[in-house]
Subunit: 88 residues, 2 copies
DNA sequence: TGGACAGGCAAGTAACGACTTGCCTATGCT
DNA sequence: AGCATAGGCAAGTCGTTACTTGCCTGTCCA
């Protein structure tokens, strides 16, 4: 499994997590549009590669249906953070 | 203020936070030794530069006493993470 | 007062990461 | 069947970042 810290390091990936937190189960194109509305201008491939990183980190899960690929947020890997450095 | 996500992205910096979570108020040399015991082999300057990044992110605070510089952990900036992406 | 110890500064290198570009595959609709 | 849509693959570019190297400053103590 990948590295959640590296996954969180990029602002575009954080915006993707934000978009998924607002609406789960979005496709690649829908997510790209969500980023465009937030002022970011990534290409489709850029979004795709970012989603790969998020998936490897276990923060996003993918389910395929026909020609669509839906993305779901999973924040559970983030539990490691407050467990590792307890927050008062 | 800097970026906590970028600060967390590097494994050496995370090891520094681990070392400070285990024992607060360590000097640069003490922290370097702590990393050496964890199998990392950073130079003094590398450690110094990592501490700068952590300080800019607000995760580490510094107090100077004579020729020593003590480093203290502050995990409060990490609160943003579970607030931004709620963890079930 | 001089030397050992703690740390600082700055320039250079090397590798990694984000992003693009071009082309390809697969599914659904008319 | 044919075209548009959703997505995939792979190589290449460019900027950032981690790390080194060399030298310098400041503090403490014998």
């Amino acid at each position: 499994m990948g590295d959640i810290y590296r996954a969180l390091a990029d602002p575009t990936r954080r915006a993707l997590l934000d978009a998924l937190a607002a609406a789960d189960g979005q496709t690649l194109f829908a997510l790209r549009n969500a980023l465009l509305e937030r002022g970011l201008t990534p290409t489709r491939q850029a979004v795709s590669q970012h989603l790969d990183v998020l998936e490897e980190a276990g923060l996003v899960h993918v389910r395929r249906e026909g020609r669509y690929k839906f993305h779901d947020l999973d924040t559970r890997p983030l539990r490691e953070i407050p467990r590792r450095w307890p927050i008062p």
